[in-house]
């Protein structure tokens, strides 16, 4: 589903954010991406979202070579990926419903279908009663779940999350990871960047470890509980 082959990303000025990274994600897999801050986790996700282009190597998503995909097709790539951000990236002047509906509006879906889909997505994240609220009036955990509802409302085959539990307490974080696991069990390929090692260990899923832009470890799910991470 996602495949990196000797990918490097160098920013203008010579800083190498990602160096010679290779890995593959099979469809329906759930993988954690970890490493200290600045290790290149966000850059890796941005490469998948076509917010950056690789300086070297091949990034394949859904069979498409992103390095060779023209910018004007980037929206098509992004519509097949649900992305969850640490700072939620919600629109404060639009209701929860409108925020979640955004990807469907962009797709030009019929309003009655949008209503159904949005309510289903909000139901899945446990926020069905909050559709008329404004995001700034919600708690951090609720805002994050609105972000997840927006990411899954278009039923994308891939879900990316960048430090989704960054501002949440451990209980909420665990709930959130369980939600990701549920979505994954429904067939969505999930890649979560997080440095919450205790939580990751508890999940028993494959873990990729980045350090200074290099992939230093790739731990299979069954070994995660006793890995040295």
């Amino acid at each position: 589903m996602i495949s990196f082959e000797h990918v490097s990303k160098r920013y203008p000025g010579g800083v190498a954010a990602v160096q010679d990274v290779s890995f593959q994600l099979a469809p329906g897999e759930m993988v954690f991406l970890t490493g200290h801050s600045g290790a290149g986790k966000s850059t890796l996700l941005r490469l998948i979202l076509m917010l950056e282009r690789p300086s070297r190597g091949l990034v394949l998503v859904d069979g498409r070579n992103l390095g060779k995909t023209p910018s004007r097709l980037a929206p098509q790539v992004r519509r097949r990926i649900g992305m969850i951000f640490q700072d939620h990236k919600l629109l404060g002047d639009k209701s929860v419903f409108d925020n979640v509906a955004l990807p469907l509006l962009i797709a030009g879906m019929r309003y009655t279908d949008i209503r159904k889909r949005v309510r289903a997505a909000l139901d899945k994240v446990g926020l069905l009663g909050k559709e008329k609220s404004w995001p700034p009036t919600l708690s951090g955990g609720e805002q994050q779940r609105v972000g997840i509802a927006r990411a899954i409302v278009g039923m994308p085959p891939i879900l990316l999350a960048d430090e989704p539990t960054g501002n949440l307490d451990p209980d909420l974080s665990r709930d959130l990871f369980r939600l990701f696991r549920q979505l994954n069990q429904q067939g969505v390929t999930v890649l979560i960047a997080s440095h919450d090692l205790a939580l990751i260990r508890g999940m028993g899923q494959r873990v990729l470890v980045l350090s200074h832009g290099r992939l230093v470890d790739d731990i299979p799910g069954q070994d995660v509980g006793r890995a040295r991470t």
């Binding site: 282009r53 070297r56 390095g67 910018s71 992004r78 990236k89 629109l91 990807p103 962009i106 927006r150």
Partner: protein, 320 residues
Amino acid sequence: MTVRDLRRGARAWARRQLYSFFSSLGTLLSHRLGTLMTVLVLGIAMLLPLGLYVTLQNLRGLDLQQEDWGTISVFLRPEAGREEALALAAQVVETRSAQVATVSPEEGMADFAEVSGFGQAMSLFDENPLPWVLLVTPQVAEGGDLEAEVTALSDWLGGQESVDLVQADFKWLQRLARLLALGDAFVTVLTGLFSLAVVVVVANTIRLDVANRSHEIEVLHLVGASNGFIRQPFLYLGFWYGLLGALLALALLAACMMYLAGPLARLLEAYGNRFEASGPGGTGVAIVLVCGGLLGLLGAWLAVQRYLRQFRLADQGRDP
């Protein structure tokens, strides 16, 4: 791609347009004061060339009422009588294909008495001092050179034996025509300049709006909106600004005309002229509205395009 795919794509496109349409209206209404000020500036900017244009059109209307300005007055020698007058008239009609009206001394006296109010004084003359007069109006084809025709005809008439004096009011006509031509050029220049002003004002307003909504635009980008989708509401917004500005300009024009019509009519009445101010007309109104909207659209497009180009830079940074 099947017909069904195309149809579905068209429906999706229409729904996106509808969304942008209402989204832009929402923006206009949520910033009422800003909208009002922008529209006011646009309206005044459009009013200036429009007002001058309508003024010129009205002047040209006056000109048309005086279409005998190209007419040449030919005064015959006092000793020339009816026969000479009619002979010359026939000759002019035949050889120069011009329209000729003959005025006998008696008719001339009657006219003069009526117009000047010196009727009593005229009766003091023993005999009628007025000569026979021919009023010769050259026939000029549409777009033909009236000046050359009048000059040639005047020269020819001046050379005739029975003619005493040839008088052409042509200079007046010429001056007015040249003034109107200058006015036309002025309107063209003003229209160009103020169109530019409209585009710049709209572009600047939209640019601020875009900057205020940069977070929203970023989020839209992230969830897969195309540049077209992001651009659309701003284009509608620019169109509304231009259209509302044009509407305001027309309303101001109507108000100005109503205010000026009374004094103007009284002034022209003093010159013995009946005058009714005419507006830009239905076609004119439609043209103003469409052009206003298009100029707004252009301004918005320029502003958004510039902003979206900045965004695309994020894609760069690839090794050669």
